[in-house]
Amino acid sequence: MIGHNGAGKTTLIKLLLGMMRPSSGTVELCQFNPIGKHEKHIKKQIGFVPESINFQPNHTGLELMQYVAKLKSVSAEDIQIKMELTNIAFAQDKKIGTYSKGMKQRLGLAQAMLGDPRVLILDEPASGLDPDSRQILYQSLQEHARAGNTVLFSSHALNDIESYIDHIILLNKGSVLMDCSIAKYRQSLKLPVVIEIETSDAEASAKREFFDQLKQFGELNYKESIAHLTVEYSHKLAALAFISGTQCVRDLRLLDASLEDIYHELLKKEGSS
């Protein structure tokens, strides 16, 4: 789930958690309204990691886990499993007040995963984490999702999450701009594709001729042996066929539109319409 600051990501999460009542419409989580008589039933099936994690600083990590485990009726073994999984078991007897940001985040994830919740909700879980921790975080989220559970999280770091997610919701000013799988969206948006071409040691005249021909497909920028060709989505395959048929190319890479590009494109569309 992505969107600008104030787009409504946290509000949506609060609605899902039953922290707020919707001003109109209904909220349904695991087939029930999160507010009302099914509240506890639902809360046992969800794990939540808030944006800024401030556990009681005077408790140890283990004490917090035990507290949550008791409320979720989860066994003691699961505490150890989840703490090992998120790599925080080494600090379980230290006060949370002494934890670093990354450690708090991992503890937050550990408590949320207690009891293997069917739905895991995280509000900007990666903010303030170093690249390594982020990767570990996303990998454990991916594993959890592959086990048949739902993982919903909000983020700003679009490029980071792109390879881990399979569904995307884009919010803007409180409304959903898009809600579908990533592949489908790239396709429907049909963003221009950049082809990076590394030329071989062909003659200068042949190269120039090759470049001139390339220009019919789209915009070309080149510097020494590397050229970037920006082609419209509809010309992508034709351009690729042409490039691979010449002698002047040593290598090529396809730079697909990133989430970032999709995001900017969408907001632009929204702005113009």
Binding site: L17, K40, I46, E51, Q56, N58, K72
Partner: protein, 266 residues
């Protein structure tokens, strides 16, 4: 349980006990010098002094630990996490209340026990004075609960922690000082002449501190050492009735805070 453990590790509780015990002991030592040769049970005198201590300290302590319990957790972003656990809002606040109250109860009992050690060890005790001491402890505990509940109402209503602190101090002033000043003023002035005993009783019931005063000083021996003597004579309220109205003061604010808390947007 969690809140109690929290208070323990926060050292609030220990501080509370030390304050109550230290002030209590001071009163005991001062009190024994004034009694001199008067043939009165020393514990009875002390109950009167300790009850004045309770009037100031117990509401202060109770408000101090409760005023930020909702708004403070909210400000730190902890509330939304805690409420994502499988607890209802009602259970969460009730658990907090029980924890806070137990902490106050422990502080009162231990603090006052320590305060009367010099008396127990140095003089004979009458059954009557033990009863009045027990009454003091009982009514102090109720008073603590009342002000924790009042603190919660403030905490739920207010948007910022600092505002909650200000309002809590204001309430303390009103209940502990201003209300009685106003009441005394009224009784002394011409307007007060026409007040019947039941009207005075009604006015006293409007302030949990006054109920506490009547409860802890209701035995006649204690009464003669306190400034409440005059009112004590007017007031014909029984201990049971006083306890009931104290319980009402305990339940109503607490109930109000539960209802308000249900509606709080996070």
């Amino acid at each position: 349980m969690r809140e109690l453990r929290n208070s323990l590790s926060n050292r609030y509780l220990i501080t509370m006990i030390i304050i109550l015990a230290a002030l209590g002991l001071t009163l005991v030592s001062i009190g024994s010098s004034t009694t001199g040769a008067v043939k009165v049970d020393r514990l009875t005198v002390q109950v009167a002094s300790l009850s004045s201590l309770s009037i100031f300290l117990v509401p202060l302590i109770a408000l101090f630990i409760s005023y930020d319990s909702v708004v403070g957790e909210k400000e730190q972003g902890r509330l939304i996490l805690e409420l994502s656990f499988p607890v209802t809002r009602f259970e969460w606040l009730l658990g907090k209340f029980l924890g806070h109250w137990i902490a106050v109860i422990i502080a009162i009992i231990i603090g006052y026990m320590i305060a009367i050690i010099p008396i127990i060890t140095s003089s004979e005790l009458e059954a009557k004075s033990i009863l009045s001491f027990a009454r003091l402890i009982f009514s102090s505990i109720l008073l603590g609960g009342v002000f924790i509940g009042i603190g919660y109402v403030v905490s739920v209503l207010v948007k910022q922690r600092s505002n909650a602190a200000g309002i809590a101090i204001g309430l303390w002033l009103v209940f502990v000082m201003l209300f009685d000043l106003a009441l005394l003023g009224l009784l002394v002035s011409d307007a007060g002449k026409g007040l019947s005993a039941s009207q005075v009783n009604g006015l006293l019931m409007a302030n949990p501190i006054d109920i506490f005063r009547l409860m802890s000083l209701s035995s006649e021996q204690v009464n003669q050492f306190s400034a409440m003597q005059a009112i004590g004579e007017v007031s014909t309220l029984s201990f049971g009735l006083l306890t009931l109205s104290m319980l009402a003061w305990l339940i109503v604010p607490l109930f109000l805070s539960f209802i308000l808390f249900k509606r709080v947007k996070l």
